[in-house]
């Protein structure tokens, strides 16, 4: 079960926790599990978030597999110029 670190404002949606453990072999499954266990995070996911897996940041590629023991983070989806 991957440990997901949450950064910035996303922590508010999981009662301030720095990290949570949820099921998920892909980004999609991970986000689904997060939404089930922490319903308040669904709105943030809907607005757009980014997921980092071992340092690489994914925004829309929800098929991305999450390897065993990977470092996983949930981040703000930033804007660019």
């Amino acid at each position: 079960m991957p440990e997901v670190r949450l950064f910035g404002g996303l922590r508010d949606a999981v009662d301030g926790a720095e990290s949570v453990r949820v099921e998920g072999a892909t980004i999609r499954e991970l986000l689904q599990s997060l939404g089930r266990e922490y319903p308040r995070i669904r709105e943030r996911i809907g607005q757009g978030i980014a997921v980092s897996i071992d340092g690489v940041i994914y925004r829309d590629n929800w098929d991305q597999p999450i390897p065993e023991g990977a470092e996983v983070g949930l981040l703000l989806r930033i804007a660019g110029g």
Partner: protein, 752 residues
């Protein structure tokens, strides 16, 4: 293979060469058509009435007289637009920014619009619209806006606790790790400093412009200067209740965007006017409107605390970052907080971003949005720390720089990154050994930007004569067509000249995210490679058919199909010519989510000369070192480095939104909002480093944005060195520098 984005480490024949851009001749002969260069039969001219007040309730808008004026074909206010009250907040905010609904939130906020037969009639009609305002108290300064009792910009906004009183702080977000206070406990030296940066505008030379046409059948077309035709299409259709497929958006040539053309401003208004008048409407912003009502970046106020041990190791870092968002909540303080400490490996680190609402225009992305101000505060303090420790500022940075495996302050752990190599290159650069003259000073600073990819689609067609048409959906902001043609030619193994790259409209290609986040060449480059690989698959099938052999025995090399036992190869041209009878047209297609954009780092060196009598600063030498991953077209990579540096120089020394006590913008023109001109700048030296991005077939990282991140700090460090006094307020305009010099002299002078 087809959609494998892993770095191939191949030897390039074309990528990395300096070819001529395919859109060049049109652009030097005046033929290229920008936003305001298109016209339609029966076209009307649109114009927008804007609030002269920084903050007011709109009690009534009387448009009757304007409507009766001969030649006026449509007048609209928010009453003519969908009302998203109670719906999704962001939709409401975006539309309210385009057209005020019951309240004006900043000087320049649109309150009504007209379409008339000509510009003069439209202007006269605006004068006939009577708006009954009740003026409210306003606030335009970041520090004043967060004080108790400050006028509240958005009464609906509350920080966190929904029961709390309204405030101008729309959100507070914290990043970092470790125990910051314990870290400071271990520090031998602690430096605390507060910084301020003024609001600046992207300053694209081409104002927002569009030509909109909507019929009563619900069909619509929009010609517009934008960084993202698909995003504009989606926004406009959603805001106006149109079906996305019924609205075709074509991006004109774009006369600069830098983030400012990633948001809709006048476009929904032009479409609404056209729909009401049932005629095409051309709507172009004046320069004054561009300044008052589109795109500036945040004004900021930042406190930094940095702790280090005597041997030069940073042990704790903390930043409180207040970013003005304008009249609508955004994410700018949070992005600043994420970027602030990204260059360094710090055990105990924290940054807190505050989104502060002001009676100023809605803040838009500006090239690596939020990062330059963060870097100004952080990199100024880092240099101060090096000075306090008696260390060379480059050595001190090297000692603390993030490396592969460092946990970034914003969360993830870095893969291979370029901060150390850029600093090593700075150390070796002859610029660092050049002698400084009288009143001159030198500064160094680092910068970071995330970069991102996103949804991308490309079509590659092989014409029967063997030439290739490439259609992409990311707008070409500065040479991308050349780079993408190079990539297509490289992958197919044909000459560059045989590829023609076109920017597709929204009806001709699948969705593409905008050209932002330095993603154009990274993402469309990836999609182009995949589309070319798709086309090669088909070329192999056709060759196999011609030879009557199994396709698995055919491979592709240097623009030709080859097969074991076949002495002759089949060229792309030969296969294309035969295509009508081997299965019809040949084309390659790709649709990808281009993720895995590599983070980008740069280090800049700057020499300035400060005139102690006037406080005027001249940049005398400037060097940019940046990691490009792979420079596809080095000329345009250098151009991005130079352009970003120049914008940063303007920001650091001159550019500033000046608001009067009445909350009105005092300098909405290029005369008083002075961007750097040719005689203000030296040649800007560039050094491209290529540390391949492992997540792109060609190793490409984005290059567009990072170059604007270090300049504020590099120049502040240089000016402080030259003037002998630490500058903490950007822009370092002559009056500010002079005041700082005088204050420092007064401080140093013996008293009594």
């Amino acid at each position: 293979m087809a959609n494998d984005s892993k770095f191939t480490n191949q030897k390039f024949k074309l990528v990395g060469t300096r070819v001529m851009r395919p859109d060049g001749v049109d652009k030097v002969t005046g033929r290229a058509r920008y936003g305001a260069d298109a016209s339609a039969p029966g076209q009307l001219v649109g114009a927008i009435l804007r609030s002269p007040h920084a903050h007011a309730t709109i009690r009534k808008i009387d448009t009757q007289k304007a409507e009766k004026l001969k030649g006026v074909k449509a007048v609209i206010t928010s009453a003519d637009l969908p009302d998203f009250t109670g719906g999704e907040g962001e939709l409401y905010n975006v539309l309210e920014n385009c057209m005020a609904r019951g309240r004006a939130l900043y000087d320049g906020h649109a309150v009504a619009a007209v379409a008339a037969v000509d510009a003069e009639t439209a202007r006269r009609a605006l004068k006939l619209i009577k708006v009954d305002y009740k003026v409210l108290p306003h606030v335009t300064d970041v520090d004043l806006a967060i004080k108790p009792g400050a006028p509240v910009v958005q009464p609906g906004v509350k920080t966190k606790d929904k029961k709390a009183a309204p405030t101008n702080v729309a959100n507070v977000t914290t990043y970092g790790h470790g125990d910051v206070e314990a870290g400071f406990g271990k520090a031998d030296v602690i430096i605390e400093k507060s910084y301020k940066t003024e609001q600046v505008h992207q300053g694209y030379i081409e104002p927002h412009a569009c030509l909109a046409s909507v019929g009563p059948d619900g069909h619509g077309e929009l010609w517009v200067t934008t960084q993202g035709p698909f995003a504009y299409r989606n926004w406009c259709a959603t805001l106006l209740g149109m079906e996305m497929s019924q609205l075709k958006v074509t991006s004109s040539e774009i006369g600069g965007g830098f983030g400012g053309k990633t948001h809709v401003w006048i476009e929904p208004i032009a479409l609404a006017l056209s729909r009401k008048a049932n005629r095409p409407v051309k709507l172009v912003m004046s320069r004054e409107e561009v300044f008052r009502a589109s795109g500036p970046t945040s004004p900021t106020s930042i406190d930094v605390r940095l702790g280090a041990t005597r041997d030069g190791r940073i042990v704790a870092a903390d930043a409180a970052m207040r970013y003005g968002n304008g009249a609508f909540p955004g994410i700018w303080g949070e992005v600043g907080a994420m970027a602030a400490w990204a260059c360094y490996d710090i055990e105990n680190v924290r940054s807190v971003g505050y989104e502060v609402l002001l009676n100023r225009p809605k803040v838009a992305a500006y090239r690596a949005p939020s990062a330059p101000m963060a870097a100004f505060a952080v990199e100024s303090t880092v240099t101060l720390m090096a000075e306090a420790l008696g260390m060379d500022p480059v050595e001190f940075r090297l000692k603390n720089a993030a490396r592969e495996g460092t946990r970034a302050s914003y969360g993830p752990t870095y893969g291979p990154i370029g901060i150390v190599p850029t600093l090593e290159a700075v150390k070796k650069h002859p610029h660092m050994r050049a002698r400084l003259g009288k009143n001159q000073g030198r500064g160094v600073a680092c910068g970071f930007w995330f970069n991102f990819g996103g949804q991308t689609c490309a079509d590659l067609i092989i014409d029967v004569d063997g030439t290739v048409g490439l259609s992409v959906g990311t707008v070409d902001v500065g040479g991308a067509r050349a780079s993408l043609s190079l990539i297509a030619a490289e992958e197919l193994g044909i000459p560059y000249e045989e590829v023609r790259c076109n920017i597709a409209d929204t009806a001709s290609l699948g969705h593409n995210d905008m050209t932002d986040g330095s993603r154009g060449t990274f993402s469309s480059g990836m999609a182009t490679i995949f589309a070319a690989r798709d086309a090669i698959e088909q070329l192999r099938v056709r060759a196999a058919k011609a030879w009557g052999i199994d396709v698995k025995n055919v491979s592709w090399k240097d623009g030709k199909a080859i097969a074991k036992g076949k002495r002759k190869s089949l060229t792309l041209k030969e296969i294309a010519e035969a295509s009508p009878n081997t299965g019809g047209p040949i084309s390659g297609h790709s649709q990808v989510v281009a993720d895995g954009a590599g983070v980008s780092f740069a280090s800049h060196i700057c020499d300035v000369e400060v005139d102690p009598e006037t406080g005027g600063t001249k940049v005398v030498r400037y060097t940019v070192v940046q990691d490009a991953g792979k420079a596809v077209h080095p000329d345009y990579v250098e151009g991005q480095f130079q352009g970003g540096a120049a914008q940063g120089i303007g920001w650091a020394l001159n550019e500033e939104y000046v608001y009067g006590k009445d909350g009105r913008l005092q300098n909405p023109g290029f005369l008083d909002y002075r961007i750097p001109v040719c005689s203000d700048l030296p040649f800007i030296d560039t050094q491209i480093l290529e540390i391949p991005n492992p997540n792109h077939p060609y190793g490409i990282r984005g290059v567009g944005e990072t170059s604007i991140v270090p300049p504020l700090a590099a120049i502040a460090n240089a000016v402080s060195d030259a003037a002998g006094v630490r500058m903490t307020h950007v822009p370092m305009s002559p009056p500010r520098v002079l005041a700082a010099i005088k204050a420092s002299r007064a401080e140093k002078a013996p008293t009594g």
